[in-house]
Amino acid sequence: MKRLALPATLVGVIVLIALLAPFLGLPDPVRQDVAQRLALPSPGSPLGRDEFGRDVLARLIWGGRTSLSVAFAAALIACAIGTTLGLMAAWFRGLGGMLALGSTDIILCFPPVLLALLVVTLAGPGSVTLVMVLSVLFLPGFARVTYAEVQLVQELEYVEAARAIGATTPRILLRTILPNVAGPILVQLSLAVAAAIVLESGLSFLGMGVVPPAPSWGLMIRGARTTLEQAPQLLLWPCAALTLTIFAINLLCDALRDTVDPRTAQKSR
């Protein structure tokens, strides 16, 4: 538990800043002011302005809000559907369940960025497309983890006990089994959020993700590349924000895994 404190605080602070973005009194992140193009830091805009004269701090925080909401939405959708699939496939064991589980594996035949680009070709870029694609990409992970864990748990005595006292199947699945497999699913969730942030920023960087002028870290890095010579600092802020966020979530993920499964904790020492 002690190991969880630092990474959880770090992630909490990042999420809190993103959540509070509208209340921080920031300038409008999409308002352009060409006269202030590439302006250096000043009291009004502590990180300066970008190539269109937009406030960098505002874009950084609002961009984080975009990245995090896309990542969390995608991870939560994938988690809900994937966990249900895995739970059903392990519990009912029928051909249908196995097929559903197997079909999610097909998603793993595609390199993730390419599957995402295929969907962007069909549906056009944008946050909704991103959430859709990313949730599909992370589905198999949740389904597999849940399936494996439920298989281990469902043979245990307390499940049999629940059945013996006459609990209904939904009750056993939701109240008895799900809480006992929640740990590994939580680890998978933090993995998916980190991976979603990486993919979202990468696609936005390519111009295939978040649509300008909406702020996003990937888009900020894309924009900063064009003014690399005049204003290299514009590149550093979004890079630092992105790396710090992913690093914090990775740390949280490792700490969660150690808490959930003490055996891996011993090994990595």
């Binding site: 097909i106 793993l108 035949c109 595609f110 390199p111 993730p112 960025v113 390419l114 599957l115 680009l117 295929l118 969907v119 962007v120 070709t121 069909l122 549906a123 990486v198 920023s201 990468g202 960087f205 390519l206 111009g207 295939m208 990937g218 890095i221 590349r225 690399l228 010579e229 290299p232 590149l235 890079c239 992105l242 790396t243 710090l244 992913i246 690093f247 990775n250 740390l251 490792d254 090994k267 990595s268 020492r269």
Partner: protein
């Protein structure tokens, strides 16, 4: 032998499934692909042009006929022609795929050459200064997205220190030295994630094996330490490392798209991104099919290598 056949058959089936999914995706998209393609900026396209394009794409034929024609084309190596400039998709891929393959090969080689020895060394000297430094570096490196590494390398080495070119490409035949120089930064950028992943996996896998009885026996009978490490520890520890290598190739191939873009490397990334933007379906499907097949082939090879390394897998 039986194992090899079964594994190859599975790989072929997966390629077929991937092709089918790509086909279905294109044809299930709501709305008429031809109309979607031709409409730009909200203006309705000319019905005659739409009909012409529908005819060219064969969209009026029954879906089953289209599907069979698509599969037959694949078998003949015909991926259609670009909707933008009528250029055969296969020719474009044939021109650019070798450059992408070169990047992938260079990146993977670098990652293996750095990650596996570093992971072994860290595990054998567990808790030592090298282990701690390398483990911390790996955790940090894993947190930086590949396009950020690429862009920062350009900022540092090309823009600020001016010791490396910012990107570009020169054919090997024309200038080998310059070719390799231009290859260095993109290959490093691509290798970074895989290096960290291989380092971690090798480290934990070697740690698992080191404590086993057969290693103690090998040491006890006085084998040379390097022989113990190579023949008794690494041979047993590499199987999970190979699995992770195969699994991570998907991320690496995706990363290649980003890295080629960052460094202006004229591989498959450029036509792919152009085609995605222009909704050039034949080009997009062609490139995605080729790269996914490449991915499945790499996974096939790693599986076969694992089987060669570990006889238990062959009979499983």
């Amino acid at each position: 032998m039986n194992f090899v056949l079964r594994r190859v058959a599975l790989a072929l089936a997966l390629v077929w499934i991937v092709a089918t999914i790509v086909f279905i995706a294109i044809h299930l998209v709501p709305g008429d692909p031809a109309e979607l393609l031709l409409s730009t900026g909200g203006t309705a396209p000319d019905p005659a042009t739409v009909a012409q394009l529908r005819d060219r794409l064969g969209l009026d034929l029954p879906l089953s006929t289209q599907y069979l024609a698509f599969l037959q084309g694949l078998l003949r190596g015909d991926l259609g022609t670009s909707l933008v400039d009528d250029y055969p998709v296969l020719d474009e891929i044939a021109l650019r795929l070798p450059r992408t393959l070169e990047l992938i090969a260079a990146g993977t080689t670098l990652a293996i050459l750095i990650g596996v020895p570093a992971g072994t060394w860290a595990a054998l000297n567990r808790g030592g200064p090298f282990d701690r430094a390398a483990s911390a570096t790996a955790a940090f490196v894993l947190a930086i997205p590949v396009f950020v590494v690429g862009t920062l390398l350009i900022l540092l080495l090309a823009q600020t220190l001016r010791v490396m070119p910012a990107g570009g490409y020169v054919p090997f035949a024309r200038n080998p030295g310059q070719h390799l120089l231009l290859l260095t930064l993109p290959a490093l950028a691509i290798a970074k994630g895989l290096t960290a992943v291989l380092f971690r996996m090798t480290r934990s896998s070697v740690l698992d094996v080191v404590g086993q009885d057969h290693v103690r026996t090998a040491r006890a009978k006085g084998l040379h330490p390097s022989r113990v490490v190579l023949r008794h520890i690494l041979r047993n520890a590499l199987s999970p490392v190979l699995t992770v290598l195969g699994l991570h190739m998907g991320a690496l191939l995706g990363g290649t798209v980003l890295v080629e873009y960052v460094f202006n490397w004229p591989g498959l990334s450029t036509p792919l991104l152009r085609a995605v933007e222009a909704r050039d379906y034949p080009m997009v499907t062609g490139i995605i099919l080729v790269v996914s097949t490449l991915f499945l082939t790499i996974n096939l090879i790693t599986d076969l290598l694992r089987a060669a390394l570990d006889p238990r897998i062959r009979t499983a």
